[in-house]
Symmetry: C2
Subunit: 352 residues, 2 copies
């Protein structure tokens, strides 16, 4: 599944930034992919890209209309159907991260068939996978893991991949969830894969690559989550990461929506993830912590990260507050041959 | 999914016991469910139940024809189609653990529709599941875990459940794979569930029950398997077992089909399974080991089990050689309130 760009971001009547978070993610991480936005409400949110009609979007190079709204429950609203059909009739493909499949709505399915357009339901895998092989692959891999869901794994992975690319390193963000897939234009919604094939799907997602290439893989769930730890385990085994980044929310006390389940101790989280990871990559190590510190008083955030960095002797970032620089610096130190670009020629180990 | 009995076991031209292992499992564990067998070859294997025609099977109470052959690859052979259609026309439902869905073959699908019969593809879940809740349920649960796939988890669970029932204890075998489902007449092929819902499916499989009732749950995979550990993790979390049984093959050295992956040390296997299990049931403990000792010289088997029992201070059985008695004895000692029947009234703790 590779979704053709550029994108026209459909916002419908979304009035808040939270309800338009898929669109916001696209504009933040892939401005190059975003031709413009299409809103239909009187007070629609503005993503900061040009508002345009379907005809204008085609002229601006749009090839796919992406549903940029993310309502709770993930249903396609009835009010969107006419707009989606109009986009198809104008010649656009349509991509959606909704739970409702685009093709399950008769008017949409018929319009796509009539006009030969493709519907991308990124929440559902578009292919079948093999079972995991456990075979070692070439290239380097980083995987985001964490103390819970929704602790910044996607944001951290995107930040690291962007920082690597900025420094001229070879790096690819690998998406494992629907918003990540829309941002990357490809990927696998790993939690929607049939259980037997999760490790195999993760292997497929980060294939053999150049020795100095980094796959920066978006994580899912947590080994400490009572519903999703199986997904996290399969992703960890299939990814065979060289480096793990522990993602965490500084003020969360219990697993989101599971009040009986405490957030694990960071040391325990690190240790169990390494233990599981080393089944398929005995060289796996933790390369840093990424913490959402926005819940802390502003003046305490730097000290919190500093304290963690000392306790773990690892770089500790908040990707929004500090950026991913310190973590990429550290990767250059511990994997000098993979650092690429300027760092590579500056590193004695790279010539050894 | 509850498959109506009795069963007519279809053997086709299967000539060996290995190729008829699904049928053999049914005859061994559910003779009460087996009306008879139907073989079509000149040298077909004999399961030891009456050979019968479709008409005779109906008279004998058969309501479902079960495919008792288990060919490598799991495809429905073309030669079976006429027999399956004939069974449907005679008034039987059809159940299959094959990878090929019964309904994907046009003649079979049309016959079922025409005659109003049900097709059971037990390898595929017949319903959707919720995500796991992590909520504690009433009743007791045993889960088979192990050092690899195919180390006797199903056989051990069936042996324990049968021994419990023989003693008058309340116990239900809970099937998580296709052969187990055919034996139980119901269950969930847990490795075919979408990854997000594995823990939820395991919760559904062993619902709230009487405090002295045991669910004896067939395990799948292994935490040390590079492809299937995610399935094992979700099953472990959703099952919330009070007791774990470690299943093992005495002579296997590497994971089946994964020569680069050694079979884990038994102590390490026990310890990691307990650690994972205690996320959703902090009271989880290991209640014994079940080892397939058939690969050892006959005269060494008893000493092997004795040595393990001393090292772990736990009952160690080979369900074929020793039966499950020692393990059920031990459960009666450590969970006296749940032992039921005679043990209950004889136990001081039960009246406390």
């Amino acid at each position: 599944m590779v979704i053709p760009g550029k994108y026209l971001i459909y916002l419908g009547e979304a009035a808040t930034r939270v309800s338009a978070k898929t669109g916001l993610g696209l504009v933040e991480w892939r401005p190059d992919l975003c031709a413009g936005q299409w809103s239909t409400g009187m007070r629609s949110v503005d993503l900061g890209v040009p508002e345009m009609t379907l005809a204008q979007a085609l002229v601006a190079g749009a090839r796919t209309m992406v549903i940029g709204v993310a309502p709770t429950g993930g249903a396609i609203a009835l009010g969107w159907v006419a707009a989606i059909v109009a986009a198809i009739e104008a010649g656009l493909d349509v991509a959606s991260g909704m739970h409702t499949r685009l093709g399950s709505i008769r008017q949409i399915a018929e319009a796509a068939r009539r006009h030969g357009r493709t519907l991308y339901d990124v929440r559902y895998p578009a292919r079948e996978f093999e079972v995991g092989s456990g075979r070692k692959r070439s290239g380097r891999r980083l995987l985001m893991v964490g103390t819970d869901c929704a602790v910044g794994k996607k944001y951290t992975a995107l930040s690291i991949a962007r920082e690597m690319n900025r420094r001229g390193m070879k790096a690819t963000f690998r998406a494992t969830g629907q918003t990540g897939i829309l941002i990357a234009g490809e990927g696998v919604a790993i939690d929607a894969v049939v259980a037997d094939f999760v490790a195999g799907a993760a292997e497929w997602l980060s294939p053999d690559n150049a020795p100095d290439h980094w796959d920066v893989i978006e994580g899912q769930g947590s080994l400490f989550h009572p519903a999703y730890a199986g997904v996290s385990t399969g992703l960890l085994h299939g990814s065979q990461p060289d480096g793990l980044v522990i993602c965490h929310d500084a003020i969360r006390e219990t697993i989101d929506d599971y009040p009986g389940y405490p957030i694990p101790d960071l040391r325990e989280c690190l240790e169990l993830n390494l233990r599981v990871a080393r089944l398929t990559n005995p060289e796996a190590r933790c390369v840093g912590l990424s913490v959402n510190t926005s819940g802390l008083p502003a003046k305490r955030r730097a000290a919190y990260l500093q304290d963690l960095a000392e306790r773990f002797a690892l770089p500790c970032i908040d990707p929004i507050a500090t950026g991913a620089g310190p973590m990429v610096d550290f990767l250059g130190e511990i994997y000098p041959r993979s650092a690429g670009g300027i760092s590579l020629s500056a590193s004695p180990a790279a010539t050894g």
